[in-house]
């Protein structure tokens, strides 16, 4: 053992050991074999935490020491951070950081050479935990991978012990074998962290919750890619007059740039859709938006407007896989007039197509990750999608979405990301039952839902006007009266019997007598247009029952 006290040598009581070739001091063969196994392929595939755990376990056993710890160099390169320890777990728990160049571990890092301490009480150490644990003697070696310092590995003994050059050689073997695996695990961990961040970004750019719409069932899923960050998106936009805008899209490429471009295009489509442009116009505008953005970008996309009153969807598609229509239990892909993807051709045109939607028909929009397989033409994937959807005819929109993903992609994760959005216009029930939030915003959708329900009884224009107006006034009362802790709601039911329509609106609010000259107007309107108006008021709320004979 060589004492080396020349500046910048180790501090008092510390011995700098000359780095040596492994072959110079031959350790016993059984120990050597155990240390050589630290570079097992199996071990190098471990992620950082289990890798270090395994390293510490083996080192502690082979060198028969009480403590063993790994400090890794922080990315800035100025400090070491205690990352794993056995026997001195406090080091990690307390997040011990040691400046490179100072103290025991810091000097090993600075000199990239083993350091031994025979008597800790006389040594210059930074970390008080070492003394508190009663460690007497220590030995540490640098972790170096391809010339880069990764960290420091050190061991300690609670009884006085001389760590000789053979012990140092053994620890160095362990360090040499394991340092590249540690570095690889660190890089992978950083990448994983970045991937998680990018996936979180991707998700934050997708709609948080789909709107609850009267008269349409909606369900959507987004599956991130196993390895890459994708640029797939879907969106649902509540338009005026009972129409619903549906978008689907896929930005070419991967990574954070694809995800942010996706966010821009989704917002662009939403903004143009809210201005009530036609599908062709929405795609045309978002195409020009994409051309105007700096840098190259391309995306396939589709925009469809579902009209609940007309029971139809009008859509335009830009180089995107065609929508699926499940109509009367039969599935087909809709014919889409070909148009280029967005961002490719200046002044591209996106022809529109319209399709009628029957009761219980469903439309499925999706991205290519659902159908594409390597080395297979898209047609084969589309046929598989159609056949699978055929098997699922009759299932709920939620089951349909989950099952399509399950059967076509499986649960093992997907190489490409996938967006899927399904909508169904349910058959009108004989009896309408709605539980509604006590929010003025619900009034317009309720009027439209009621008109669509009424249509099956073939009312005259006066009937439709009267029943809609009176019901809306009853709902307005319910919205105004509903007081309850938490979100208040009210119930609407409508039924038809022997040519008479009965509507009941029940809230749980305290009835307030009409105030002022005009406040009784809603009730007066109900009486004006209906054959019968009954209002029941109680402590628990009020119920308004309206009746009108059709054709009266």
């Amino acid at each position: 053992m060589t004492g080396a006290q020349d500046a910048p040598g180790p501090g008092a009581g510390q011995v700098l050991l000359h780095p040596r070739g492994v072959a110079e001091v031959a350790p016993p063969s059984g120990q050597l074999a155990a240390l050589y196994r630290l570079s097992d392929p199996g071990l190098s595939e471990l992620s950082l935490e289990p890798l270090l755990d395994e390293l510490l376990r083996r080192v502690r056993e082979i060198l028969d020491v009480d403590t063993v710890a790994v400090l890794l160099l922080e990315p800035e390169g100025t400090h070491l951070r205690a990352t794993a320890a056995k026997g001195i777990e406090e080091e990690v728990e307390q997040g011990v950081r040691v400046p490179v160049g100072r103290g025991f571990a810091g000097r090993i890092a600075a000199h990239r050479a083993p350091v031994a301490i025979r008597d800790l009480s006389r040594a210059d150490v930074v970390n008080p935990i070492l003394r508190q644990k009663g460690i007497c003697s220590m030995l540490g070696v640098p972790l170096i991978a391809e010339g880069r310092l990764v960290g420091v590995l050190h061991v300690g003994s609670l009884v006085p012990r001389v760590f000789d050059e053979q012990a140092a050689a053994l620890l160095e073997i362990a360090a040499v074998r394991v340092a590249p695996a540690i570095e690889r695990a660190q890089v992978l961990e950083a990448l994983e962290h970045e991937h998680r961040g990018a996936v979180a970004l991707q998700r934050s750019l997708l709609p948080g919750r789909l709107p609850q719409l009267l008269g349409a069932e909606l369900f959507a899923r987004y599956l991130p890619s196993r390895d890459l960050v994708g640029g797939d998106w879907y969106d649902v936009i509540e338009l005026a007059d009972g129409r619903i805008g549906l978008t689907i899209g896929d930005v070419a490429g991967h990574g954070v740039r694809a995800a942010t471009l996706m966010g821009e295009l989704r917002t662009g489509m939403r903004a143009y859709a809210l201005e009530h442009h036609s599908p062709a116009e929405v795609l045309g505008r978002v195409d020009r938006l994409l051309h105007s953005l700096q840098g190259e970008g391309m995306a396939t996309a589709g925009y469809g407007v579902v009209d609940l009153d007309a029971a139809s969807m009008r859509f335009a598609w830009a180089g995107h896989p065609p929508p699926l229509l499940i109509a009367a239990g039969r599935t087909r892909t809709l014919d889409v007039t070909p148009a280029p993807p967005l961002g490719v051709v200046p002044y591209a045109r996106f022809p529109e197509t319209e399709v009628a939607l029957g009761p219980d028909d469903a439309i499925v929009l999706y991205t290519d990750g659902l159908v594409e397989r390597r080395g297979e033409s898209l047609d084969v994937g589309l046929e598989r999608l159609t056949a699978t959807a055929d098997e699922l005819a009759g299932s709920s929109i939620e089951d349909l979405t989950h099952e399509l993903v399950e059967r076509l992609v499986g649960t093992a994760g997907t190489a490409d990301d996938i967006a899927i959005l399904a909508v169904r216009i349910p058959r009108q029930p004989t009896r309408l039952e709605l539980q509604l939030p006590a929010d003025p915003a619900v009034l317009a959708p309720v009027r439209r839902a009621l008109r669509r329900w009424l249509a099956q009884w073939d009312p005259g224009p006066d009937d439709a006007f009267a029943i809609t107006l009176a019901t809306a006034e009853a709902c307005t009362n319910a919205v105004e009266h509903a007081h309850s802790p938490g979100p208040a709601s009210f119930a609407l039911s409508a039924s038809h019997e022997d040519g008479t329509v009965t509507v009941t609106v029940a809230d749980r609010g305290a009835w307030r007598a009409p105030r002022g000259r005009h406040r009784g107007r809603g009730l007066a309107l109900m009486h004006d247009v209906m054959d019968e108006v009954d209002v029941e008021r109680s402590e628990d709320g009020s119920t308004v029952r309206l009746r009108r004979r059709l054709g009266s």
Binding site: A240, A441, A444, L469, L525
Partner: protein
């Protein structure tokens, strides 16, 4: 909230408020406030054009009556434009608007009536 579009236009000293869409509890009060905010004291009259309105309820009627009261206090006149034989006209009729407030079948007819009123006065 149901969207209703409001467009204000001034023809000499008369402000015309063109409304489009559906008016109900969710938006009627906001529309009424927007009209009053932009109605200057110099304006002699306000014409509320309901030609483009496809539905209105008691909350909207309440706002019309309040507008009438506020304008009356400022010696300003309110005219309502509504096409005959429409659901909106039917609701206004039931609520007494057609018989208690001045109404006209078109903006031109309302402006003409207001012009005549000036000449008369």
């Amino acid at each position: 909230m149901e969207s209703a579009d409001l467009r204000l236009e001034t023809a000499r000293d008369v402000v015309v408020a063109h409304l489009e869409g559906e008016l109900d509890l969710s938006n009627a009060r906001g529309v009424g406030e927007a009209i009053r905010r932009d109605l200057s004291n110099d304006a002699r009259a306000l014409v509320v054009d309901l030609t483009g309105v496809t539905y209105l309820d008691s909350a909207a009627i309440h706002v019309l009556y309040r507008l009438h009261t506020r304008l009356h206090e400022r010696a300003q006149r309110l005219w309502i434009v509504v096409a005959a034989d429409t659901p909106v006209a039917a609701t206004l009729g039931l609520a007494g608007v057609l018989t208690s407030l001045p109404t006209a079948p078109s903006v031109e007819a309302a402006l003409r009536a207001l012009g005549d009123a000036v000449e008369d006065g």
